[in-house]
Symmetry: C2
Subunit: 203 residues, 2 copies
């Protein structure tokens, strides 16, 4: 989902739509917390665009699902998909509510940021220095989620944001990575991005 | 939150209650997906107990927050905490809705489990063999979330479940670990738990 164009709907199977909905909702929560922590309206706006995208996916899921029912047993099973999709949609709406707090410009209590920084899973920001082994590598090569425990949520390159970068995404010097993980894993990614740690995972 | 007793409310600061709410809601989503994937009613029931716990935390948060407001500026900031708590509560309710699908015994469509297994973050189950380096180590020593990218959600020991085990929790032979992470990291934890891989992270 690197570019807006990719949010457009291409006909997919119920399963593909459903997985896309689950991934999108989880990503929206991460992005919403990031927007609050860093006070970044761009991230908050992206959450709201994703909410519309998810509503559209949900609509297509319902159309596909209703068409697929052939008998009462089908109908019960298909209803279970719609129920789960409803819960996923609720999660995405909660993420949108979080993002709206940033866009409405209300003054946030300091403990909100503290809570995001002191939860079990935290959000962190790292800047890639020229000495870092991250430079020139793709996210697929690095597999940071498995090797460091950090999920990359978004990357700022100059004035541009790349959201949920995919495996082909190549890290460049001065990229600002926003990630989610344990405090230890965020700290370790910071050292990697500063060029202090020169190995990743079991390399 | 290893034992039920620990769910009882002990007076805490607004910040502590708030962080506990955020952690609990995120944990509930993981646990709800686990209950669906493995068809485990025990996990689903735990999600519903946590929903009650979270409602109680939310109530205490509101009482504390309202008491803390001294002037209009305070009130605006404190309202932001209540808004965020509301979004967190919505997420926990969505998790409870997912768990109820398991407890209501409705027939789930096969693509529901497939979606949980094929999302970006997946849920996996591993059994600890006598040869594994995990045996006898605490979760704090292992720090699996940072070192393997897998978050341990719950552990089954014989007939008993331990939910959200804390750092002191020591892994024993035949423990069944339920975790959340990338497919690669779950696969790697499987090899570690089988005794095939003998190192963790950068050891």
């Amino acid at each position: 989902m690197e570019e807006w164009e990719e949010y457009e709907y291409k006909p997919k199977s119920v399963k593909e739509i459903f997985i896309e909905m689950k991934n999108t909702a989880e990503f929206m929560v991460d992005l919403a917390y990031s927007s609050i922590l860093f006070g970044e309206e761009d991230l908050a706006e992206e959450v709201l665009e994703l909410e519309e995208y998810l509503d559209m996916l949900n609509y297509h899921l319902m159309v596909h699902a209703v068409l697929a029912a052939r008998n009462p047993k089908d109908a019960e099973q298909i209803t279970s998909i719609l129920q789960m999709a409803h819960a996923i949609d609720d999660i995405s709406n909660a993420a949108a509510d979080l993002a709206k707090m940033v866009l409405d410009g209300i003054e946030l209590h300091p403990i909100i940021k503290e809570a995001i920084l002191e939860s079990e899973e935290v959000i962190g920001k790292v800047i890639v220095s020229p000495d870092s082994i991250l430079v020139g590598k793709t996210l697929e090569e690095l597999d940071l989620a498995s090797n460091t425990g950090v999920w990359i949520i978004a990357v700022r390159r100059g004035k541009r944001w790349i959201f949920a970068p995919d495996g082909d995404f190549k890290i460049l010097v001065n990229d600002v990575l926003i990630g989610r993980g344990t405090q230890t894993s965020i700290d370790s990614l910071k050292e990697i991005s500063r060029g202090i740690i020169k190995v990743i995972g079991n390399e």
